[in-house]
């Protein structure tokens, strides 16, 4: 293990956090396990790719992807999930069906090739830290991950919407009894969670590339993060992302063929002792 692979682990963890925090927000508040989250990542990333290539601006790519993913999330929630409210398993399986449709649509629209979102000029090349050369872009991802964590923390702990979301995670019925339209909070949360998947898609698409099975891969990593961290916990998602990111890069260095074991072995062991994850609370 050298500094280079530790940094790789950290930057991957930052991306995982961006994606998984959206997943865990939706899971925590709406009790919906959105298995289409990976598809939102891929679809958002591809929309961002097209927007960024057409406009020549990475920022426009990010905005387009987040907007698109948020709208897609809203359509999924209001158009389909409303019919199966309250049925946990039916919700999950429905989103799984949506994931298949979105993945196939992406294949039709963008083809099966591997696409790379063009990173901005300023982030190309490597940064020299001591005697280590490290890609600037990956450091940007790390910074962005920290920024998203700070932003979400402020949103959840310092704003009215955040207070409503936190209260909704703990006790949705009481909030409704207090005269607050919880459905609007739900909708906002769903859009925010989906937008984070879209953001992850563009940011990840620039260094991990986008290809047809990228959605299920990122979904499984996000699942691992949320399973380790616990439902609906921001701190849990951060710790989970760090664990999964670092274990993944250790695994890839030490036994590349079986790298998956390095992540899921510890995850399984943890579940044996804490079935609800590190920061999980019983529903």
């Amino acid at each position: 293990m050298n500094a280079f692979s530790i940094l790789n682990g950290l930057t991957f963890a930052a991306l995982l956090f961006i994606v998984a925090s959206g997943f865990t927000l939706i899971f925590g508040l709406l009790r919906i396990v959105n298995l289409a989250h990976g598809a939102l990542y891929l679809f958002g990333g591809l929309v961002g790719y097209s927007a960024a290539t057409a406009s020549g601006s990475f920022a426009i790519g990010i905005i387009a992807a987040m907007l698109f993913a948020a709208v897609l999330g809203l359509a999924l929630d209001q158009g389909l999930l409303r019919f199966v409210r309250g049925f946990e398993l039916r919700q999950v399986l429905l989103t799984l069906g949506v994931a298949f449709i979105l993945n196939d649509l992406a294949l039709v629209i963008w083809g099966g090739d591997t696409l790379t979102v063009p990173a901005p000029e300023a982030l190309l090349g490597a940064l020299n830290i001591g005697d280590l050369y490290y890609p600037k872009y990956r450091l940007f991802v790390l910074a962005l991950g920290i920024l998203v964590f700070a932003g979400l923390w402020l949103l959840l702990n310092r704003t009215r919407l955040g207070a409503l979301i936190r209260a909704g995670v703990d006790d949705p019925e009481t909030i409704q009894a207090l005269g607050i339209d919880i459905r609007k909070v739900f909708m906002a949360t769903f859009m925010l969670g989906a937008a984070l998947a879209g953001l992850g898609g563009v940011v990840g698409g620039a260094f991990l590339t986008l290809y047809p099975s990228a959605d299920s891969e990122i979904l499984v990593f996000s699942l691992a993060v949320v399973i380790i961290g616990g439902r609906g916990s921001l701190a849990g998602a951060a710790v989970g992302a760090l664990l999964v990111g670092l274990l993944n890069s250790i695994g890839q260095v030490m036994f590349p063929e079986l790298a998956y074991f390095a992540i899921f072995g510890p995850m399984a062991a943890l579940l044996a002792f804490r079935p609800l994850g590190l920061f999980g609370k019983a529903a």
Binding site: R90, V92, L94, G97, L105, L258, A259
Partner: protein
């Protein structure tokens, strides 16, 4: 007894099938039997233990990989390969079970999904053994069962006693305990039942049946690749169970027939099978979550 008469008619129909169906449709019928077995093994967990798994494609595919590795790469006999494949699948299911039995509901689904993805990851990356993305292509079935009609009868002969075994399994005192756990595991625990042990055994038994289906599939298809163990395989198999009706056991074959027929119908017109599969999932979840046989039974009981 109308039931005995019905069963006899079904038996005769299944035995007569090879003589009336063209060879392509016969291979579909063989496929339906194999996937019906897989869907039924899922129903043991989903319908009777109240734990919906998303890893049975991986268990099924493990058996198929072992059979083809043993017969093709190592060049040994088919029978030994099948035995080893079924053992391997059961062992994988046992390990999954140990990790997953403490969870329930959505957590169980997610955990089994992640566990199944590990198998997929291993099959994709461990190129030395699994052939990576190229998979393993078998040399075909041995002479005696190479003929499609003969192979149909082999699969039918394997399916019938297995279906009977699964039916007996869920109706045994053990199966009744499982149903109790499905309704309320805290109550069963309070009554002194060893809930984790029951779930472990049910999961392992389910994996054993899924493994047999996988070993038969290896002979049927003579080719295995990471897509055989992929999530989409687990999803398609679960969709068969749900389409037929969770908890109806025999619905598995109805579901398998419906999904496999749909796949063949659709593929004649378009290459967008995943979209159709996804749409089918969405529509069934919204409009008919109780499945074909489930709906039929509900109406009959009124």
């Amino acid at each position: 007894m109308t039931r005995t008469a019905g069963l006899a008619a079904l038996g005769i129909a299944l035995l007569a099938l090879p003589f009336v169906l063209p060879s392509y449709q016969l291979s579909l019928a063989t496929q339906i039997l194999i996937f019906g077995l897989l869907a039924m093994s899922i129903d043991i967990l989903a319908g009777f233990a109240g734990r919906t798994p998303l890893c049975h494609g991986a268990i099924f595919g493990t058996a198929a990989y072992v059979v083809l590795y043993w017969t093709t790469t190592l060049g040994h006999g088919v029978l030994g390969g099948m035995v080893l494949g079924i053992i391997a699948a059961t062992a994988v299911a046992g390990i999954f079970a140990l990790l997953a039995i403490r969870t329930s509901g959505v957590y169980f689904l997610l955990l089994t999904l992640a566990l199944g993805m590990i198998v997929w990851g291993v099959c994709l990356r461990w190129t030395g053994v699994t052939g990576g993305e190229n998979g393993i292509r078998g040399a075909g079935r041995p002479e005696a069962i190479a003929d499609p009609v003969m192979f149909y009868f082999v699969v039918l002969a394997a399916t019938a006693p297995l279906v009977l075994a699964m039916w007996r399994f869920v109706r045994s005192p053990f199966g009744l305990t499982l149903r109790g756990i499905k309704d309320s595991d805290s109550r069963m625990r309070a009554l002194g039942y060893n809930v984790p042990l029951h779930l472990f055994l049910a999961f392992t038994a389910s994996g054993f049946f899924a493994g047999i289906a996988g070993a038969l599939y290896a002979l049927f298809n003579s080719f295995v690749s990471p897509s055989t163990v992929a999530l989409s395989q687990s999803v398609a198999a679960l969709l068969m169970t749900i389409t037929g009706g969770v908890g109806t056991l025999f619905g598995a074959f109805v579901g398998a027939a419906a999904i496999i027929s749909l796949e063949n119908l659709v593929s004649a017109f378009t290459a967008r099978w995943p979209t159709v599969l996804g749409l089918a999932f969405v529509l069934i979840m919204i409009f008919a979550p109780e499945g074909i046989l489930g709906r039929f039974r509900r109406h009959r009981s009124f």
